[in-house]
Amino acid sequence: MSAEHLPVLLVVVPLLAAPLIVLFRSGRAGWLLAVLASMVSLACAIGLFVQVRGGTVISYAIGNWAPPWGIEYRVDVLNAFVLILVSGVATIVSVYARTSVISEVPSDRHYLFYAMFLLCLSGLLGMTVTDDVFNIFVFLEISSLSGYVLIALGRERRALHAAFQYLILGTIGATFYIIGVGFLYLVTGTLNIVDMAGRIQAVADHRPVLAALAFMTVGLSLKAALFPLHAWLPSAYSTAPGAVAAFMAGTATKVSLYVFIRLLFGVFGARLVLQDLPLLEALSLLSIAAMLVASLVAVMEKDLKRLLAYSSVAQIGYITLGVSLANQDGLTAAVVHLFNHGIAKAALFMLVGGAALRLGGCRLEVLAGMGQRMPLSAFCIVIAGLSLIGVPGTAGFITKWHLVLAAAEAGQWLTIVAIGASSLLAAAYVWRFVEAAYFTAPRHHGVQEVSVGMLAPAVIMTVACVYFGLDTSFTLGAAREAAELLLGAVK
């Protein structure tokens, strides 16, 4: 099949591989299919990215019904970049999942795990690739529902409650989102993002548009775990199976943030977002609160997975802070941090998941002496942790550089202070792990490094954190182009 079908193949391959796995009813076949399907998606995403670099936009009409009537898949550099993140993380995590699933999920449910994993993947990819606001909702729910199931597969009974909590909040978020979609449809009569952007200017001062903006902002913030709507995230990530935590931490919130950014700049546009409403000011305040408060909670946290989960909330604050600055460097920081934080968190959750399996938990006192027992894992956690801090030479630094630059451009010196404070807090919580792993005597004897199947993907991801901190031509190039695109849309 020719390259023109890439946008849809990307979504359809994992979507159809999932029922195939159910038909095969075998964990091993399921794993192979999951890895294969993720790889195909990654290949499609890369293929798309190559095509859209330099400003080309690919439009694909599902069922050959021309947009705006039919559903349109539309790929530009921004979502191609997110697609690469999602499918890349999925590919690496799916390799890792084999060992993780064998140890954490009852064997009669292995094939269901992989089916759910692929459904979740195709949902996230669909959300990213589609240009239809209602279709986004459908894919959002596909990814969410499979996500709830994946979280509930966690070993401890706490996972059930975490999944339930996430289900309630996630559904409220998604429902808020379609309420917003409903209002927009009522006033514009279209669901296509591009079409809507053209029509919304004429009705921008209608109250339903404002209501839609409010509902969508709240709904997507819930899904993206934007402070203070992050309540579901720590318990969900800390109780889910290792592979699920790694996958979701790397992708799920990022895709919701992508949709948020897309709607903000691609639909609502300059007048509402930049001029009439104090939306960005509010977003900036919430982001700073997230960066500080969530980091502070992370510093206090005793369980490494929860610590990392709170760190996610803080790092999401970096992304939204970049959005709220709304200049070239700020948006670049936001988009590039989607990627940089995604890979760092995926690496960390993979490593911590492995450690939790070997040591029987991930409270910091359980991890004591991990530096001696599992030297490579512990070292990789430190490296990926450095990326969270934003040490130069890691991917996190690239984000921080642009954030500080953007804040300087906007003249927001207090924001710079907040960024600095947040980095310090990040250093503090990463160093809590360092001290636990290297300065305390091991509690367990005879504990060994995790198997290659789990370690190799995690190490690759960690190396990526360093690689994309040095060679930024891909990440930064894409992010800059995407930022130009977004700013061009609101000019």
């Binding site: 079908h5 979507l15 159809l16 029922p19 159910v22 038909l23 599902i62 069922g63 050959n64």
Partner: protein, 142 residues
């Protein structure tokens, strides 16, 4: 309820009609209200009705779990396969116009296949939900 003779007889008489009605709804979906969703639920309802009257084990014998699970998967595959077929025939994904030489016939064929997929999946999912919930009750409490 195995002992209620009347119920059993009525059930046996009703279930074939329910299934036929499901098929009617399914095929009429092309021209009027109806379609795979509704038909799938009716099919599932027929089986659930059977389970209510004759007991869950009997229903599970009639429509085994493995079949139900396969139905869930198969329906999605039929749906997706139709889409892929459109692509293979030179159209876009889910492009029905190319499924036949005559675009209108193509639309008919496409919708028919897709709705069939929906029927299979929806009835499978409905039954699965019913089986899972009903099966739980058999477990010892607590």
């Amino acid at each position: 309820m195995r002992d209620f003779f009347v119920l059993r007889v009525v059930a046996k008489m009703l279930i074939p009609f329910m299934l036929i009605f499901a098929l009617y709804v399914q095929f009429h979906g092309d021209f009027g209200p109806g379609g795979g969703f509704q038909a799938g639920v009716i099919v599932a309802a027929a089986v659930i009705f059977y389970a209510l009257i004759f007991g869950l084990p009997a229903a599970r014998l009639l429509v085994p779990d493995a079949l139900v699970e396969s139905m869930m998967a198969l329906g999605v595959l039929i749906y997706g396969g139709t889409g892929i077929a459109g692509m293979l025939l030179g159209g876009n994904f889910l492009d029905y116009f190319v499924l036949s030489a005559n675009p209108v016939t193509g639309q008919h064929v496409g919708i028919f296949l897709v709705e069939a997929g929906v029927l299979v999946t929806v009835s499978g999912v409905m039954l699965k939900i019913f089986y899972v919930f009903a099966g739980r009750a058999k477990l010892p409490p607590g």
